[in-house]
Amino acid sequence: MGSSSGDLRYELSQNAYIKLVLHSLNHPTSAVNGVLIGRISPSNDAVLIDDAVPLFHSHLGLLPQLEISLMLIEEYFSAKGLNIVGYFHANERSDDYELGGVAKNIGDHICRYFPQAAILLLDNKKLEALKKSKDRSAVTQLYVRDASKNWKLVHSEGNNRFSLREPSANLMLLDYIASEKWQGIVDFDDHLDDISKDWLNPGLFN
């Protein structure tokens, strides 16, 4: 079984992708994060990211809310045969491309339960450019851990290591941005402030 992260492809579904980007747009002046939900492909050569749950937009570096959210989220999705397979992070400043300590620590934590976990970092320049370009590639950067457990940027140009499952994902994303769908996104912070708010965001893609 288990290929090392050195061989695996990572495939991001439209729903997960759009949810995460919309979440970051909903909190443009804060850092935000989320978890990636998915599974290993039947052919054992890819991590399929089927869904995502937006986590927080404040105090990302604090443990209690992280631990609770991971417990509840893992519990919910394991009943459906899915795991937490990665982490998403958007930095506070739009020109900040560094994968910071908080992101790495959370990524490391997730790797303890899913060794091939990846981190996606929002690329703001690409997101901005999306409105003018016809780029079909994701507006996120992919990081995986190397053999020494350091997080390394994966260059996906030309080698297909990281792809969007649906080729029209960016078109959908632009559509959702235009109709301001980011306004209704519920994250775990919102849920903890008011538990009647559903972090599954069930109405988002109807």
């Binding site: 570096g61 443990l63 519990e75 538990i195």
Partner: protein, 202 residues
Amino acid sequence: GRLEALLLEAKGSWELAEKAYSSLLEDNPLDQTIHKRRVAMAKAQGNIPGAIEWLNKYLEIFMADHDAWRELGEIYVSLQMYKQAAFCYEELILSQPTVPLYHLAYADVLYTLGGLENLQTAKKYYTSTIDLTGGKNTRALFGVCLCTSAIAQITKGKSKEEKEGAQVQSLAAKVLEKDYKQRAPDKLPQLTTALKSLTLSS
């Protein structure tokens, strides 16, 4: 004058703006707005150490500015400098002891720092948050459960206060379950399992 400096910052002429702000502050070190502009500009440029330095200088003069303490606490948390963050929240609790938000943030930071003493103190502050919010703060209720479990893992049944701790934890758990049943029933099964795992380990 001031307007010119503000314009420089707005246009992104960082160096010139910084010079202008510094000279304005030399003439009038009590100009709160200009102090804050200097911090904001440092933050915007990604100069977080600079922002911290200026913010600390500001707080030496204006130590009653709660927003500034909160801002500093948040910056420290984002840099994982939890001890320094704790200090900020201690200042806030000292000056405004009945604001539950500060008790909660302090507890969160202490839990993140970890270690038996911090966990025990965190639990106290989660409890005070619950008191100050009439038992309604979901985060504090979860916090109590997390602390009790973490403390029990360290003391492993050697402490007398554990029995008392377990009582508080099960009370908090009951409140959470009741609340979820009423307002988020589809999320109740996961909550029950999570709480069970937290109480089992204590």
